[in-house]
Structures are given as C-alpha cells and as structure tokens.
Amino acid sequence: MSPDWAPATALDRRGFLKLGAGSAAAFTLLGASVQLAGCSQQAAPAAAGFRWLTAADLPFARLLVAGVAGSALPADPAIADAALEEGARRIDICLDALDAPAQKEVRKLFDLLQWAPFRRFAGGVAKPWTEATAADMQTLLANLSASRLGLLNGAFRALAKIGSVVFWSQPVAYPLARYPGPPAWAVAALNA
C-alpha cells in the first residue's frame, strides 16, 4: 500500500478525480472526459471475427493476457501467440455475455485505459498500447492495485480476474499449474 501514490496525486491536481474512493460517479465523470476528448469506442463496431471488442481494444486485450500470464506464457513464440489470441477471444466472449449495465462500465474502463492522459498519469505507462509490452501492462496493474482510490482498485480486480481466467482456463497453462486435467480413468470411461 502506498498512501502517497504519485500518479493519483497527479490526477487529483489536474482536478479529474476528487471523488471518494469507490464512487460509481467517478467512472461517469471520467467517461465524460473521454467522450469530450473524442476517444470513446462506444459507437465503434466489433472487430472482424469478434463480438464485442473493437479493433482499437484488441492490442490492449492481448497485452492484458500477456501481462497477467507473465512467466507462465509459453516460451515458444508460436504457442505464446496462440495463447494470447485465444485469450483475447475468450475476453471477447466474456464481455459480450455481460448484461448492458456492466458492459457500459467496462466500455468506460477500456476507453479510459486507452486515453493517453489516464494511461500515463493513473497507469504510469508512457507508450500507447500498440507499442507497449507485457511489462508495461504489469506497470498499469501495479499502479491500479496500489492506488488509494477504491475505484482504481476495482479496475485492477476486474482486469486481473479477466486476464487470469482467460489464460489459466487454457489447456496450454495446465502443466504450469501442475493440473493433470480430469482424472484419466473418468475421461476414458465417459468417452468409451
């Protein structure tokens, strides 16, 4: 915990975030800033082959999987790529399945994270997501998690959770969790 966490202070100084921790209104306010800045993907269509993620969301989504997977990401670049691609596809399935109220919140969060001032000041990431690395994603997650604003902690939890479930649910990750899969005798019996 770092109560005097710098990026949030910077945000406070800029007058973006004066709301109490956990206030749902803060997202609305920040969402409005993003819309004013003309960056919202709210009206953008889903990327080709996807249901909900837009083309602009995709680099962020893949990087989220990479950042959360960390050293568990397979070393073989082709296998790693496939895991990231499958991760993004699973994120898309999960977000498409949310009810409208939750989708609105996730849209605001994704827009915010792609909005340069927020990414830089709250996330501590200088590069746009198209050029950033898994380490940059981890910097973002660290900053959101360390923030004294409940709202940003909530964003951290949401991102960590979705990144975790879409990676650790993939068979390619099972050996790293030393998870043998369902008991072999049962699989054999079920498919006999």
Binding site: A100, P101, R157, P182
Partner: protein, 535 residues
C-alpha cells in the same frame, strides 16, 4: 461406459421441449400455470403442479445442456455457457463477483451439491421479525424430509478429499465443531466437477429429477425464452410477454411469445425475479421489491501444504463447520466450507498477475482454500443490498458492506488461518490484495489485524443469492405471504431464492426445495379443482 442421456430418451417418448431461438413467428401460449425459471424453485414447483393435473408451461432464458455436453469437463466452456453473464456478474461497483446459473436446471445444474436444512434460529428470526407463519422447524421438517428423499440427499459416505480434510482435521485439532455434508447425489463418481455440470447424471439437479418428471406429465418447456414483462391489471396478472433469444442466448431475436395463464409463478432466482417485477411495474406499496437482497458474502484463505491436496479432484464440498455461525455476542456469524480448485476458478480469486500469479498457480496441487460465508441480513447494519433496474430494465445490484460485516470478515481471516495451520499448513495468505503468505499464526494474526478492510482490497465473492421479495405476513416489510403468494396480486406466486427475508446461514438449495415444495403443494390444492373442472 455410455451415460444415458435422459433428454434424448425423453424426446423420443414425446417430451414437449421447444427452443425459442428457432421460432420464426410470434405465438400465444396458454397454460394453467406458467413458471418463469427452471432452477431449484422452478423445478420443484413444476413437478408438484404437473402431478396435480395442471397444465404447466416452463420458461428458461438459458439453453438446454445435458450430461453429454459436460463430458469435456472444461471450465471455460461451462462457465461461459451455464452461468449468468458468463460467470462475470457482479455487484454494481464490481466489489462482489456473483456466480449464478443460467440454463435448464438453473443454478442446481452447476452447484456443489451441499444440502443443509434451514437453521432453526433463522426460521425463528423470520417468524419473529417478518411474520412468517407456519414455518417453525417442526412444521418444515416433513417438507425437508420429502425433498431429501426425492433428491437422494445423504451425508457423503466416502472419505473427503484432502481439501475438505484440512477443514475437518484443523477443526479437530482446535476442538471446533465440524460435520460431514449431506449431498444430493446418486451414484456419484467423486470427480469434483459439479460446478461444470455433472457428466454422469449423479448430481440430483432439477435437470435430471423434477423437470423430467414434469415433462413425463406433459409439461411444456421452452428454453432460450426470457420473461420480459408481466401485465398487471385489476389486482391480477393477465399476461406475460416473453422474448425469444438467439442461439447464444445473449440477444433477442425479435420474436415475442405472449403467455396467458391462470396463475403465474416466478422462479428466476434472486436478482432476476425482483428485476422482472420492477420492470413490469408490479404493485409495491411499500417499495420492498429488490430490498434486502442478501449474498452470504464470502472471503477466502489460501494455505500451502508440503503434501498434495489436489483440490481439483473429489467431491467439492464434504465438510463444513458451524462453529462461528451463531456467535454468543449475537454478532454476525459465518459458516466455513471449502471450494473446488480447478485452475480457472482458483486463478480468478487470487487477484494477482504476472510472475506472482504464476508462482501461486505452480503451487495449486499443494494449495487448500477455506471460505467463510457471512450470515448477512440479520442485523440492522447488515440489511443486504438492493436490486434496482436501469433505463433498459436490466438488473443493477447495489451492496454496501458496513463495519460489523467487515469485522466478521476479519475475524474469519484469523480463524481460517488458525484451522489451516492446525492442519499442517506451511504458509497461509488471506485473499486480500495487501496480504502476504505468513509462515506462522503469530505473524498471520498481527498482519490480519492491520489489513485495510475495504471493498476491492479484501476479496469477496458470492454464489448464494437470497431475498428481494421477502416472505411473511408483515405487509410493510414483505412482498409475498407465508405461502409465497404476492400480497397485492391474486394470481402470482414467487417460488425461488428471492423469497427469503435474510440470508439463510446455510447453503440455500434445500431451504428453497423445502419451502417451494410446501408452497407449491398449497398452490396445487388451490388450483387443481378449478383445473379439473375446466378440463
């Protein structure tokens, strides 16, 4: 060994099952009784009402999945298809992730089979504070016994898996209460994948028990069908509009079903039932609909052992402890249990990323997790949350956590660590963003005392949704009467987890089965003569 697929056989003998996603024209459907939702409450009601000779129509917004769909035992596939919002549902601020089922069989399709009767003090509280009549422990006992018999509920006879044994052994060492869990299974293979749908029809969910019985009696089941709005007029419901959903069950196809029934039963579960009533502008003179929605807020403690725990295999829940459920000071108590530990579910509660998460996951086979389920809704400062609807009529669930509940959660972090160390844990870490693995109880106790107990920092989750349409004779506080009939509306009953005035203090399914079997029997007696006369 080929597992008999009940539904393939049933369709061959003429079961009336329709997939609304394939409909190309609007239709009007009629029945004596329409039941919205096919989970614990809906399934139980369907069997009883159809056995009484009533024509029953059951609507389910999710899809129909049967044993053969569960053979892969794949977490992502099951969580994304069988759960509300693909298992991504949460309170409005995201602080409490919510697991709830959404398929034929409802949450019973994916629950963990723990089957415990309503605690006596809970029944007494509901009678005293909400005017719930005829529901004392001895009056309910025959209904619980009937459903235990119906669903094969009996204490788990096999050895608990090592994950559950930690709870038993830790409690034993410390002299704390523990008990073997009764499960609703017949011929269980002890696989541990109950949360993904049982591949061998061993779990006695509604999918394989009451719904087939009702289909045998001529019930019509329409899935991919979402109840959208009830029409209220003159103290009655006189219609229900239903949206057909597409194959993915996410979006309406534009086809509408107009349902007309003599009686309407809502069994969409807590959150969805209150939302349907709010969307339909149901009469609600005291603004009680959606209020007091309780969740048994759950926190968790992770322990690493130097022996194999393999919490991903074996019956997921077989031991519980009620030692801290009813504290002597009258404060908020909690029940202790364990969750199954397949990698996707385990990773979702860790709230870590990168190398730290990878290290946690590499310990999975040596990890035990205990969970504490808080008994919310019994105290003034823990009155549950509130379900409301947004502009488009979709549910939004606000849930605040106040000081007494945080104190109980902190208390549980300490007690869970004690039990884990007593059972031989090498290190223990509370599921909290600011916690580390602690190597001794002294270290854990000191650290837990200093953990900031705030939303998003302390990890919370729920799989138990209760309340929002409280049941009792006190019309100022309750939406339905003691038999589940809506106070303001002649032909409307609520038969699901939303009926409870507070949380239960035990896993909900048997309480739902018991109350619904009693209330649906009363309803059948009230309606059946009329149905027979009309026939």
């Amino acid at each position: 060994m080929a597992i008999n697929d009940l539904y393939t056989d049933g369709l061959a003998k003429g079961w009336k099952i329709r997939d609304a996603s394939t409909l190309t024209n609007d239709e009007t459907l009629e029945a004596d009784v329409v039941i919205v939702g096919s989970g614990a409450g809906g399934g139980t009601a369907a069997e009883i009402l159809s056995a009484a000779g009533l024509s029953v129509l059951m609507l389910e917004e999710g899809g129909l999945y049967t044993s053969r769909d569960f053979k892969a035992l794949d977490e992502f596939s099951s969580y994304s298809k069988l759960y509300q919002e693909a298992a991504g549902r949460a309170t409005s601020d995201g602080a409490i992730p919510i697991l709830q089922g959404r398929a034929v069989g409802g949450t019973t399709l994916v629950n963990w089979t723990t089957s415990i009767r309503t605690p006596k003090p809970t029944l007494e509280y509901w009678a005293r504070d909400f005017g719930l009549k005829g529901s004392a422990a001895d009056e309910m006992a025959p209904w619980f016994a009937k459903m235990e018999e119906r669903l094969g509920i009996a204490p788990w006879a096999a050895e608990p898996n090592a994950n559950n044994a930690v709870l038993r052994d830790g409690c034993d060492k410390l002299g704390l209460h523990w008990k073997t869990i009764p499960r609703n299974v017949r011929g269980c293979w002890n696989l541990g994948y109950c949360g993904l749908g049982c591949p061998v029809n061993a779990k006695q969910s509604m999918l394989v028990t009451t719904i087939p019985a009702a289909l045998d009696r001529g019930m019509t089941l329409v899935h991919h069908a979402r109840a959208d709005r009830l029409q209220f007029a003159g103290g009655r419901v006189n219609g229900l509009t239903v949206q057909a959903l597409d194959a993915d069950t996410r979006h309406p196809t534009g086809i509408t079903l107009n349902v007309r029934a003599k009686h309407y039963v809502l069994a969409g579960g807590a959150i969805n039932t209150p939302a349907l009533l709010l969307r339909s502008k149901a009469p609600d003179p005291h603004q009680r609909i959606g209020q007091r929605t309780c969740v048994h807020p759950v926190n968790a403690s992770l322990a690493v052992f130097d022996r194999e725990i393999d919490g991903f295999h074996g019956a997921p829940q077989s031991i519980y402890s009620d030692h801290f459920l009813w504290p002597e000071d009258g404060g908020i108590g909690y029940k202790l249990e364990v969750p199954p530990l397949q990698p996707m579910l385990a990773s979702s509660v860790l709230a870590r990323y990168g190398d730290a998460l990878a290290q946690d996951m590499a310990q999975l086979p040596n990890t035990n997790v205990l969970i504490a389920l808080m008994r919310d809704g019994f105290h003034e400062q823990s009155a549950g949350g509130r379900v409301r609807i947004d502009d488009s009529g979709q549910p939004v669930f606000d849930y605040d956590v106040h000081e007494p509940l945080w104190n109980a959660l902190r208390h549980a972090f300490v007690q869970m660590a004690e039990i884990q160390f007593a059972a031989g844990a090498k290190s223990v870490r509370p599921a909290h963003i600011d916690a580390e693995p602690y190597a001794s109880m002294d270290e854990a106790r000191a650290a837990i005392a200093a953990l900031p107990m705030r939303k998003h920092r302390a990890g919370l989750v729920t799989a138990h949704l209760m309340g929002g349409c409280a049941m009792g004779e006190d019309r100022q506080r309750c939406v339905i009467d003691s038999r589940g009939r809506h106070h303001e509306t002649e032909n409307l009953s609520i038969f699901d987890g939303s009926m409870f005035p507070s949380s239960i203090g035990a896993n909900p399914q048997l309480t739902i089965y018991g109350f619904v079997s009693r209330n649906a029997t009363a309803l059948a007696e009230a309606l059946a003569p009329a149905a027979k006369a009309a026939a």
